[in-house]
């Protein structure tokens, strides 16, 4: 029997999962919104973050919360290096070139990971126990993962709207030529944006281990890429905060629709959950082809 407590519990679980989906997607929108680059190797950066979390825990005993900071730093550095080494050469060219470039770089990362750490799946446990929400046990790691994801997005918001660098980024998004005329170093803004985007993506990979701490292997990122593209399109593709909102909706709908479909006695509710989630995307895009939010 469905009680109000159960509905609240399932909603909270959906919100936590949704904030993580949002964080894991925000880098994709950031890259496309500012540099017009579709990061088709997105999942490989998530994979790098998951490995950082694993090795930090296995070798140093560091929990994923701490290793996510290191993961951000690694992603940030990769973003700068990638921009100056590859992206700056194809910027302004057809979007297909950058799409293929990032796809190839994603495969390169997968194979480097396999060469370095083998293809054997790895896992670890950071058991913090669970808390009781209206009579239902909910794991603390997931709660922490959800809350930290939300905090990171809040920090990003403050950075973009309350700092000089953030203003520079937004001015480049609006009008790169105008921003350049006003003295903004557009190339530097692009490099910084890619660094932040990849930093967030790699950090989300580290935080993903708070939700799924097993099955860490070189090819684990592929499903993240597919899901991130769906969420980013729903959110508006060029809008990082639209992506976050879409991720949140995605998580809530996934969990709540399961409950509703179970009530309706549908044979396999989870199959229908996916159908409903993607049907919702279609519906939203029919009503708002630009997605939930604009940039």
């Amino acid at each position: 029997m469905v009680t109000a407590e159960y509905v609240i519990f399932v909603t909270i679980a959906g919100v936590m999962l949704g904030t993580f989906y949002g964080l894991a997607t925000i880098g994709l929108s950031f890259t496309f919104g500012i540099l017009r680059i579709l990061n088709s190797g997105h999942g490989s950066f998530v994979m790098i973050g998951a490995y950082i979390s694993y090795w930090c825990f296995a070798l140093l005993g560091l929990p994923p919360l701490v290793s996510s900071l290191l993961a951000f730093a690694v992603g940030f550095f990769m973003g700068f290096a990638l921009y100056h080494g590859l992206i700056s050469r194809v910027l302004g060219g057809p979007e297909l070139i950058s799409l293929v470039l990032m796809f190839a770089f994603g495969i390169f990362l997968q194979e480097v990971a396999k060469f370095s750490w083998s293809a054997s799946p790895r896992g670890f446990t950071w058991g913090l126990g669970s808390i009781n929400i209206f009579g239902y046990e909910y794991p603390l790691t997931r709660l922490i993962g959800g809350v930290v994801s939300a905090v990171i997005v809040l920090v990003l918001y403050v950075f973009l709207f309350r700092t000089k660098s953030g203003n520079a980024i937004r001015s480049v998004v609006e009008d790169p030529e105008g921003a350049a005329l006003c003295g903004v170093n557009v190339s530097r803004v692009y490099a910084l944006s890619l660094a932040i985007a990849l930093g967030l993506t790699v950090a989300s990979g580290a935080l993903s281990t708070l939700f799924v701490s097993g099955g860490i292997e070189p090819y684990m990122g592929d499903p993240y890429t597919t899901r991130a593209f769906a969420i980013a399109v729903l959110g508006g593709l060029t809008s990082p905060f639209g992506s976050f909102l879409a991720g949140l909706l995605f998580g809530i709908i996934e969990n709540l629709s399961y409950m509703l479909l179970s009530l309706a006695n549908v044979g396999n509710p989870f199959s229908m959950t996916r159908f409903l989630t993607f049907a919702m995307i279609l519906l939203v895009l029919l009503i708002r082809p630009q997605g939930l939010l604009k940039r």
Binding site: K114, S120, F211, I216, S262
Partner: protein, 435 residues
């Protein structure tokens, strides 16, 4: 000078006879059996050495190489006539990509001229490779494409050495029936072909044995949260939870059962509990988890098992296999079921060639139809019509006191099953599942 009519007739007859003999010799007469025994037998396959099948494919490759090492260096080569012929392996990386498989198998057959084929790793890829082998009438030993449907397509030259998906959970049901005939069961499975068949087999066997299934639901392939489905299942209070899963989702499922504090008298998963990452991820919470495997080190068949069961023994013992495996595998690796299956494929093929005393595809296939063989990996016997494996049995193992030990079938079990297993809270306090 005019010839006599009799001479003319005789000459015509002679010409006709000679022409007839020439026609018979060059056109009609069957070629003499000129099969020359080559110096080596080449076996070809593709493997997903990169891409999502990388782990299993590497394991399979090392198993295949270890078995070839045994045949060439320990056994002395395949005995055909007076010759001892060595096996040579030819393989390509199919990148776990079925789009590449077809052309690579064409290349193995037409360019590399391999004598026999092994299938790639994974049912979706075997589904692509099998028609190519059929097109050229090449024998293909399928070692790890366990989808039942592959062998229901009418490919006459496809032979399986491992248990098909729909049979993998059946021994688990047998064991439950023996331990607790009144047990209630929940079955949860991933929505992919392999796990769907796994669950179907479990449900069929449970029905046959009169076990009560109180919950039966699937979950999507990219699941990140089991909370809704587990919460619903917990209300049914099953005695046994059966999960048909792959690595990441299987570990997630086990972790979430622990986090949600959902207990059962026994929890069984496919092959996932046998993985090191499962134990790493769960620590002591892995205690009591049971998993099914095609093969696991420590629960191998031996020559005496083979004799007792009426099967011919062939190949290395488990320890010898491990020794050879360590010579070919990357440092720090330990043979998984995939390695065992790869090795079994080579051993079965080698013994069939010996028995056929020929490299003729049909002759070897005919031997494979009736051959009953035991290797360290298990038993081999097929249904001649479909090539499906009918003798090899899944092994059920359980985490007991930090070791993953074989508990079923009884003939090769090294420990008794623990039932009921400790609760999550007990395991958090350090309790182990000890018989």
């Amino acid at each position: 000078m005019a010839l006599k009519p009799a001479v003319i007739v005789a000459l015509v007859l002679i010409v006709i006879v000679v022409a007839g003999l020439l026609y018979w010799y060059f056109v009609v007469a069957p070629p003499k059996p000129t099969e020359e025994i080559p110096d080596k037998i080449t076996v070809g396959l593709t493997l997903g050495l990169s891409g999502s099948y990388s782990y299993a494919s590497h394991q399979g490759l090392w198993g295949i190489q270890a078995a070839i090492k045994w045949i060439n260096e320990v056994y002395g080569g395949i005995k055909i006539g007076n010759k001892a012929v060595k096996i040579e392996l030819k393989y390509y990386d199919d990148q776990s990509n079925k789009e590449l498989v077809s052309s690579l198998y064409e290349q193995l057959i037409n360019v590399d001229k391999v004598d026999f084929l092994l299938g790639p790793y994974g049912s979706p890829l075997v589904m692509v490779a099998a028609p190519v082998a059929a097109k050229y009438n090449k024998l293909m030993i399928n070692w790890m494409g366990t989808g039942d449907v592959i062998h229901e397509q009418g490919y006459k030259n496809l032979v399986m050495v491992s248990t098909h998906s729909s049979y993998q959970m059946r021994p688990a049901m047998e064991m439950i029936k023996t331990l607790d005939p009144n047990a209630t069961i929940a079955v949860i499975f991933k929505e992919d072909e392999h796990n769907r068949y796994l669950a179907r087999g479990a449900l069929e066997e449970a029905g046959k044995l009169g076990l009560s299934v109180v919950f039966n639901k699937s979950y999507p392939v990219d699941i990140k949260d089991f909370t809704p489905i587990f919460t619903e299942m917990a209300a049914k209070k099953p005695d046994v939870i059966v999960i048909c899963a792959h690595e990441a989702d299987g570990i997630l499922a086990a972790q979430q059962l622990a986090e949600l504090n959902i207990n059962a008298k026994l929890m069984i998963m496919g092959f996932v509990p046998s993985l090191k990452s499962f134990r790493d991820a769960l620590g002591n919470l892995a205690e009591g988890w049971a998993g099914t495997n095609q093969w696991t080190y420590g629960a191998s068949y031996t020559p005496s098992d083979a004799q007792a069961l009426g099967y011919e023994w062939f190949g290395p013992t488990e320890d010898k296999f491990l020794e050879l495996y360590n010579q070919v595998a990357s440092p720090g690796q330990f043979p998984s079921e995939h390695a065992g299956a790869g090795a079994a494929a080579i051993l079965v093929l080698a013994r069939a060639i010996e028995k056929a005393q020929s490299l003729n595809q049909d002759a070897v296939r005919n031997v494979l139809n009736t051959m009953k063989l035991a290797t360290f990996y298990g038993l081999y016997q097929i249904d001649p019509t479909t090539g499906k494996q009918i003798a090899h049995k899944e092994i059920l193992s359980q985490w007991q006191g930090g070791r993953f030990v074989a508990i079923w079938p009884p003939e090769i079990a090294t420990s008794r099953p623990v039932y009921p297993i400790p609760t999550w809270d007990e395991k958090r306090q350090g309790a182990q599942a000890l018989p």
